[in-house]
């Protein structure tokens, strides 16, 4: 921590070198400090019965921004927690109605699901507008330029099969009619078609993912720099197939290892009468859980690391070119450590994990800049979020997290 403390003030006032240069990203947050912020925030959330949540979120974002130095200058967050509070209430009501409706009647569940589908792209866009419109670097507000229409278009490949499947499953779900043979056949057919629909959704998910990333990265803007992403759908599919491959291979390896360990245990301790005891079964379950978590701790960092690199390396603007070199091995090691320690400390390690993950993911990104950012000037119409004309996002302060 000492070197960071010493380096942070030293980095900023250096004279800027000639224009083409690399803007390094550094993250100076500390796990132990964020732990204390987190602890006090949690208490305040409990005492206020959850109403403090948006204020806690604003504080968390401010802490992470103040510690994210791009070329020696921290990001700043201008979001007003009271506005975020309105968005929080809106989202809470929406999600509460949705999950409540689903429990009470199938018809209400369909209606609620349709409403959620209908408003989700608009909320997504509003949250991107809010977060970026309230983020600034060197006093320049960022912005999000994605249009409402594009937000809906990006969701089409996800929505069409999903809507068809939901409508169909609600209408065609079998009910026990009293005739055992007929009912069994209906249940079997229902199960098979559900599986088929899930398969189609899974096959389309890389396409959706690519469209989401395109929408986001094409919308990012700071001053005159408008983001452009050149992300080929084929490469996202390739990553998807690799992900499936990694999942299968890691599952086989981890399970083989578990069998070897279990076999070793039986060999060492013998298989007496006590091998059938409750403890043997508990051990079996524990090994199963470890296998499950290990596989996830391989697959998730693999997907996250490769996707971050794929999306950001394809992103540029007139003067900026992003480079992300997040290594899977490092993210895997960190994820494993984070999960283990969070589990062992019953969640107390979570703030440390959040800081460590942010550091790893941010510091692997560098930005090549062909101009001197100090020459940039905010665009006339691009002032502040409350002047962009789109009231909804800012009025409700919707922030679903980026």
């Amino acid at each position: 921590m000492l070197d960071i403390d010493a380096a942070a003030p030293a980095a900023a006032p250096q004279p800027l070198p000639a224009a083409p240069r690399v803007l390094e990203i550094r993250f100076t947050g500390s796990g132990s400090e964020y732990f204390r912020i987190w602890a006090v925030n949690l208490l305040l959330i409990l005492v206020t019965l959850g109403l403090y949540l948006p204020f806690a979120k604003a504080r968390r974002i401010r802490y992470f921004y103040a510690n994210t130095l791009v070329d020696g200058q921290a990001l700043s967050f201008h979001g007003d927690p009271w506005k975020m509070f309105r968005g929080f209430v809106l989202l809470a009501v929406l999600m509460g109605t949705y999950s409540g409706a689903g429990r009470f009647s199938p018809a209400a569940a369909i209606v609620a699901f349709m409403i959620l589908c209908a408003v989700w792209p608009a909320l997504w866009r509003a949250s991107l507008q809010f977060r970026l419109g309230n983020t600034s670097w060197r006093g320049l507000r960022m912005g999000f330029e994605g249009s409402l229409k594009e937000a809906y278009l990006a969701c089409v490949p996800m929505y069409l099969p999903l809507l068809a499947f939901v409508a169909w499953s609600r209408l065609a779900a079998p009910h026990a009619s009293g005739d055992p043979a007929g009912d069994r056949a209906a249940f079997a057919a229902y199960g098979a078609t559900s599986l088929f629909a899930m398969g189609i959704l899974a096959m389309l998910s890389p396409l959706s993912f690519a469209l989401f990333k395109r929408y986001q990265h094409n919308g990012y803007r700071i001053a005159g720099q408008q983001g452009r992403i050149d992300l080929s759908i084929g490469r996202v599919y390739l990553l998807g197939f690799k992900l499936v491959g990694v999942a299968v291979v890691s599952m086989v390896i981890v399970m083989l290892a578990a069998v070897l360990v279990a076999g070793g245990g039986v060999f060492l301790f013998g298989r007496g009468a006590e091998a059938d005891s409750l403890w043997a079964r508990v051990a079996f379950l524990a090994v199963g859980l470890v296998v499950y978590l290990l596989v996830f701790s391989i697959v998730m960092p693999f997907g996250a690391a490769r996707m971050q690199n794929l999306a950001w390396n394809a992103t540029r603007s007139d003067a900026l070119q992003f480079q992300s070199r997040l290594s899977f091995r490092k993210l895997f090691g960190l994820t494993l450590l984070n999960w283990t320690l969070t589990g062992l400390t019953l969640g107390l390690y979570r703030p440390f994990a959040a800081v460590a993950t942010a550091r790893l993911r941010l510091e692997t990104v560098a930005i090549e800049c062909s101009e001197d950012p100090a020459d940039w000037v905010a665009e006339e119409n691009a002032g502040h979020a409350d002047a962009t004309g789109d009231i909804a996002g800012d009025f409700f302060g919707i922030d679903m997290g980026l």
Binding site: P13, E33, L69, P174
Partner: protein, 342 residues
């Protein structure tokens, strides 16, 4: 008059990205920077922290950036800016650990007293019709996943229904306990996963599995007592209470544990369900025994049920190394005694 302490800052005006070095000082209700000033009320001050840069956000989108955090903190203190209570707690290990302790104590108190109270109020308010819709929806969901249509013939099902309505009629004539307005027995095949089982859903739908009826084909009195027990759950609206409790606990857990893992956030909800249901089981046992006895049923036949259940459980555990029966019911012996005592 003493000179106000001054500090240099990088001023970004929100239009140009070029930093302008300025001197900053406080004067009464205004912050001065270079040739400009802004009223204190419109500013957003940074919180004191050990790490990161300090920024004062100006109204209108500009900001003053202070790369040297320690110098800023010293200047702010010298200028008479105190820390907020929240910051003082955040910066102290003792107070932040204390807030964790208070958090745990608060959660425990909410769980022990607040939650049951809130659930009882919610159950009083929720109309029976909502509860019924909820139960029907649950049953529909289970019909897709765990439950298959019953293998019992229509006559067998009718025979059980007749016997049950006979018990209810006799119990009513004998002045037995109040029976919920709506309830319905459903016969289903629960497969190996559910085994011999019966359960009540919110709203009065009671499901009894084929395996249970096979197990007790020659012990109709035990079946009637089991149904009485389930009717007790319906009468006391245990299903709804359980769902509300589990829902509330999982919401709180997901706020604390966050996106870390659904596994972790599901665990407290499951534990809550288990801990609470023990009292519920005793309540339902009492109701079931009273009702069944009023309906002329020999409730001591439950002893046979528990014995056969235990044998079956032992057999399935012997065959299946993964099956660990974590029963939510009170110990069998205790219940056998309860159903047999005069």
């Amino acid at each position: 008059m003493t000179e106000a302490p001054r500090l240099t800052a990088d001023w970004f005006d929100g239009r140009s990205a070029r930093a302008r070095p300025v001197e900053v000082w406080l004067d009464g209700a205004a912050l001065h920077f270079g040739d400009h000033s802004a009223p204190l009320a419109g500013l957003t001050w940074p919180e004191r922290q050990r790490h990161g840069q300090r920024q004062i956000l100006l109204p209108g989108g500009g900001l003053l950036s202070f790369p040297d955090a320690a110098a800023f903190d010293a200047w702010a203190r010298a200028s008479g800016r105190g820390d907020s209570v929240v910051v003082r707690w955040q910066q102290s290990w003792r107070l932040s650990l204390l807030s964790l302790v208070l958090l745990v104590a608060g959660l425990a108190a909410a769980y022990l007293w607040g939650l049951p109270w809130a659930v009882d109020r919610a159950v009083d308010v929720l109309p029976r019709s909502t509860e019924r819709a909820l139960g029907e929806h649950l049953l529909q969901g289970m019909d897709g996943d765990w439950l298959k249509p019953s293998r019992l013939s229509a006559e067998q099902q009718r025979a059980w229904q007749l016997r049950w309505s006979g018990v209810l009629a006799r119990a009513k004539a004998q002045g037995g306990p109040v029976v919920p307005e709506h309830h319905e027995i459903h016969f289903r095949d629960g497969g190996k996963a559910l085994g011999p089982n019966a359960f009540a859903l919110p709203g009065g739908d009671i499901v009894i599995t084929d395996a249970l009826l096979d197990l007790l084909a020659d012990e109709p009195d035990a079946v009637m007592t089991v149904l009485g027990h389930e009717l007790g759950h319906v009468q006391h609206r245990h299903g709804l209470r359980l769902m509300l409790r589990a829902g509330a606990v999982s919401v709180v857990a997901s706020v604390i544990v966050g996106d870390f893992s659904t596994l972790l956030s599901a665990a407290p909800a499951m534990l809550a369900g288990n801990a609470y249901s023990r009292d519920g089981e005793r309540e339902a046992d009492l109701y079931g025994r009273t009702l069944a006895r009023a309906g002329g049923v020999d409730t001591s036949r439950m002893a046979v049920f528990f014995r056969r259940l235990a044998e079956k459980r032992q057999a399935s555990v012997d065959n299946n190394p993964v099956a660990i029966a974590i029963s939510t019911h009170p110990a069998d012996d205790e219940r056998v005694k309860f159903f047999s005592e005069p």
